[in-house]
């Protein structure tokens, strides 16, 4: 997915965001830090295209902390401006986990579609006796007063 660069995010703000993002999402083992995968570049534009409501608060958070180090800015926003911190951290993590290399490294293929080729086959719990054990313990509900408690006659797949 390609989106147009967010016009309100200057190069200076992108550099500042990258510094903050690297504090929030640092290098860790085989995992790269946020700026290495471009969270301040195209990924940021994708995040803000999905969440345009964040843009104004995101820019505010960056502008009010310009001149601070990434660590100082992150700490300041976390303590003093939770709304802006939420926007900046959502952009950092949201962009980071869009990156295909990161997804591969964490073992996340995205939300999959897994059609069931045998939807009518008896599930393992019906074959291995585990569901039967629940069934055999009998009804556990309180019946309507004046009415008898009734159990299902048998369990599907049961040998009984």
């Amino acid at each position: 997915m390609t989106v147009a660069p967010a016009k309100s995010i200057t190069a200076e703000l992108r550099r500042h965001f990258a510094a903050i993002a690297d504090v929030l999402v640092p290098e860790y083992g085989r995992l790269p830090k946020a700026s290495d995968v471009g969270v301040a570049d195209e990924l940021l534009d994708r995040v803000l295209a999905a969440r345009p409501d964040l843009t104004e608060i995101f820019v505010r958070g960056l502008q009010t902390t310009l001149g601070r180090s990434g660590r100082e800015a992150a700490e300041h926003l976390f303590k003093q401006d939770p709304e802006a911190f939420d926007a900046v951290s959502t952009a950092a993590a949201g962009g980071y986990y869009l990156d295909p290399k990161v997804r591969e490294l964490i073992g996340y293929p995205g939300q999959e579609s897994i059609p069931n080729e045998t939807p009518y086959a008896l599930p393992s719990y019906a074959l291995d006796g585990s569901l039967q054990r629940v069934f055999d313990r009998g009804p556990i509900y309180k019946p309507t007063p004046g009415k008898a408690m009734i159990a299902h006659p048998r369990l599907i797949g049961s040998k009984a």
């Binding site: 999905a50 996340y108 897994i114 069931n116 629940v134 509900y141 599907i156």
Partner: protein
Amino acid sequence: MTTSNAKSSDEADVLIVGAGPGGSVAAYELSRQGFSVVTLEQGFFPDRAAYPGRTPEWELLTRKTWNPNPNIRDNPQDYPVETSHSDINPLMFAGVGGSAILFNAQWTPLLPSDFRARTLDGVADDWPIDYEELLPHLEDVEQLAGISGFRGTPVHPPRRDFPTPPIEVGELGRRAIAGFDKLGWHWWPGANAIASVEHNGLKGCVRTGTCAYGCPEGAKSTTDLTLWPHSLKAGAKLVTGARVREIEVDEQGRATGAVYIDRTGRERRQRARVVILAANGVGTARLLLLSQSKRFPNGLANSSGLVGRRLMFHPYSAALGEFDEDLKSWRGPYGQIIETYQFYETDKSRGFVRGAKWGILPNGGPLGVSSIAGAKVFEDNSLDSSWGESLHRNVAARLGRCIVVSVIGEDLPYEENRVVLDEKLKDSDGIPAPKIIYKIDDNSRKLLKFHEARAVEFLEAAGAHETSIVHQMRDSGWHLLGTATMGDDPSRSVVNRWNRTHDVPNLFIVDGSVFTTSGGVNPTASIMTLSLRAARYIAEQSRNLKVA
């Protein structure tokens, strides 16, 4: 009565306000039986292609565009809700299919004891109807809705088999089953309003796992897919973008129709012989309170003073267990993979009455591993505990390796918990918005604490090496119940046993408002069942109803 100059349309046999689960069932049944039906829906017909589940950005989109909280989503068709005096935020969606577009599709009809809380436990009130009376209508609804499940659970009397087989439980489900089996507790493959094979307009589930944000496959059972194609073919008229601001009455106190604002901003009038409200437990109460007249100065159908009162949500907690093995816990259904009623019925030795149903759920993608339904909850409050290397450690520990236990407890009805009209807040058409006044009671707190401890016990039995709890999540008001309660006594209830208002003989309510008690289960199955029964009553009694 209104003095509006609204443009009027032809009189319908039946006017329905709201195209969610309740309203859609009524529209289906009455149009099928040959009545002319007009349904007014403030939202629009959903575009399945717009659902976010198959986009890489899906988790970002669920936090705003597809968030179930209307105050966060803030679409023009949503009305704002004033919640500063509520312990729980109400969640809902405006559109054809209603809030079910964003529901988890857990299919959990009320159980026999739920209708007799007063008789069995000395609390709340008995319903004027019972489980057995609803059962044939429930079985019909289940066939229409394509419910998937495994017949035979010992938590209710025998009933007809589900129309589609249970959805695959996956590694996560098998791990949960092992835990329950070890403890000897009740569990059962989850019944869901998600078809596992093609059925009545639904596709078979492919376990995408984004059920709560619109099903991109078209497997989750929502009435835009299952019922509206039939209703439209039968001649029902569906008007979307139509926000109703008043139900009108004649001098005899009978409903004559509704005044609504269309998508161009024009005020219009729809006349009808019978009016059915299905705008959810907040929206219906709001509309009744808005419909003040000389004859009904406190709002329509409100001689009891109970319209808007007895609001119930369901107290909600969640427990999360982390496991060593890869359970691929981003896979669906989401949905309940497993359900348990082990602690559903009252045991007074626990120190509270009534109980809760649990659903066993997955926990989403990398942004969602600390969240429930888009709300971050499994985090503590310091920068370094959630970010930096902790973020990587959390994702490594939780992505694909978690089981979530969702605990839905019974909420007892109190008149102090209520929906009123806010004096300042208005929707985009200038209509007063609802305000929620709601406090969680001591019974709910004790109930949740007990269930949280049992949930941890279960997770540890299943092999979790780490567990965490979120107690009483604020963004958990999925179930909007009780604000037009059902009962036999007109001084203590709003609708009678047929969902007809005591005060207005041709005005019916078919959403969660009518719940006398909440039960400890997700209510959509019972809402649809009650609506089908009410629609059949209206059809049978059409010649005898006192209409305008």
